[in-house]
Symmetry: D2
Subunit: 206 residues, 4 copies
């Protein structure tokens, strides 16, 4: 691969937004060994680690968008989502489906964006919000690295956003899937994979 | 993960279409070692192997859609595509950008769908065509497994299509990326990853 | 215009769904002369008239989808909506923004689809729901005829749905705009404009 | 309607692009009285009048995008388009379907965007192009005022673009439909409807 056309990018280009993907109560109140959606070891700690990102965003006026996967209780909107490894999940009305507001430090002024699929862009008002906020760079945390984070990143990338994934604040269905997804995102945008420390530094330098 | 809600699916559910993703002349006329887009070893053979799928589709009246990544010559529409590992590629007017029609057995009645991004659904008339053809199942071949094939699969999945990927007729940027993407697709739809032999059997059994 | 290629369509083709567009409490609890969004004379009566459609749909197992225009309270998501005749409207939390559930006979099993723009398809999970319900024909009522109803019809039409508008159960910003929009919808699909009586007959004949 | 929240807008906000909608050879080489798509009296003159806009755009480095409605020759992608007043139109390969390049002064550097439906946004790479060009304001000319121009305007509006329609350089299916559509667009964005003279002045003042 030649690199003569590469333009170096900063961690944050233009205006950022922190996108907290699917950090929901199930992680905190459901301690089942066998889960409807598989989680890698240490998943919960990785979600807890995202709290510092939210606090930094709040301190530096970076918009915070909490994405919430939620399905209608009659299950009409699962589409093909039950045709693979995942089982019925995130039903509206189930306390496990709620955004983990207390744990994540949600406050008035933050946004909640419900979704029915994996990408935050698909069938939601996510991009209407990004446009209203004039966002250029998406800072992604949450889960699953290999599913909702990865596919939100891809749609962000295809829609011309600069996308960054906070590698120690995302968790996958397995360690291997998590690592493969991080590589895939780095393939799409050099410098996409960043540590929480680096991202917080970038936020505080705005 | 519990499985009590699983419904077994056939390889082909309803009406299929064969989606030949980005099998373009560059694979056949450009023998560079260093390529603008990385290819795993054996990539070209995997593209050649897709020819039998096209022939079977033709014989059994399965619509064939050739997806073609192509960028405007002034490069205005690359978006973030040059921010990662990929270099300038698939310019309109370059002979390497043409669909590999002879190699793939393209014939009148097949469709060509140009695209500017990775997913065949993104910014194209792909879904207008799928609806007109009343397609239920997408049979994917071509490349890259880990990019255009994977992300077309994801959008197909989110749009409620049954999606299958022909594992010996797709090639990735590297062996690891190829294998990780196949796992990701199988995670989304059990039975998604199929051999060419199995897919051709399913087509001939329609 | 020649008509040799025309295929006559039934009022309801395949599976229908009743789409109740933006019938919200403001129509019933806000009696202002000057409104944030203009209403033709008799607007309220036309919304009340839609109740019979909802009842018929309930009796004959036709899914009912209540579309609700609602904007985030910090007004970040109005986009260009305040650049024309319309003023700030439909803020989340304002009692006038609620779907007129009692008036319309909303019951458990009906769906509510919030939106930020005019077309029910734009930035919403509307089409995810239509696919899950396997809908072929959209029966539209509510308001404004010339804005949200018209533009939902157009997107439905472009997405290959059969679209019908119940002319005595929709109301526009003015009589002229209402009538012009009905003509525009009839131009797109012959037989699109139907009376409530005809639509209820079609529902009861399913 | 109250106006206390109105912000006055300039004719051109930020960066403009000239969008030439469906000015195709059929207008110039097909003199049929009965047309597959109805045209108001003076339609052809209104298309010819758009030439001055193209020339001005060229002189002042405003990108010019020619939208072309074109259907695949096997007619698979008409969707519901033949269910109303329109008959089979714009088939690929038919000389009448070509963009009227000579008449409109098309030159290298201009863009052609094929589409299968009415809105230039629907199932096309139109918005990928607008983003690449960093466009803020769409200047619309061409036809039909009441269909492709109107519905492109609506999607532009919903996507947060400033939209302007050049009233003497657009033509509708009838005078009444043309005038009603202009009113509808002015309703959405105050100052949307502009004369060719005013638009050219705004371009030359950039």
């Amino acid at each position: 691969m030649t690199t003569k056309t590469k333009q170096a990018r900063k961690l944050i280009e233009g205006r950022p937004a922190l996108i907290v993907i699917d950090i929901q109560k199930s992680t905190f109140i459901d301690n089942s060994e066998v889960r409807t959606i598989d989680n890698m070891p240490g998943y919960k700690e990785r979600m807890i680690a995202a709290r510092d990102l939210v606090d930094a965003a709040h301190d530096y006026n970076v918009p915070v968008l909490f994405i919430q996967e939620v399905h209608r209780p009659d299950r009409i909107d699962f589409g093909r989502e039950l045709d693979g490894d995942e089982d019925i999940h995130c039903l509206e009305g189930d306390p496990r489906t709620e955004v983990a507001k207390d744990e994540m430090g949600y406050r008035k002024g933050d946004y909640i964006v419900p979704k029915r699929r994996y990408s935050a862009f698909f069938g939601t008002d996510f991009e209407i919000l990004l446009r209203g906020l004039k966002v250029d760079t998406l800072l992604l945390c949450g889960g699953l690295t290999d599913v909702c984070v990865h596919y939100t990143f891809v749609d962000g990338h295809q829609s011309d956003y600069f996308c960054r994934v906070v590698e120690d604040c995302v968790g996958g269905s397995s360690v291997q899937a998590h690592e493969a997804a991080l590589k895939a995102m780095e393939y799409l945008q050099t410098g996409a994979v960043q540590s929480r420390e680096a991202v917080i530094n970038a936020i505080t330098s705005l």
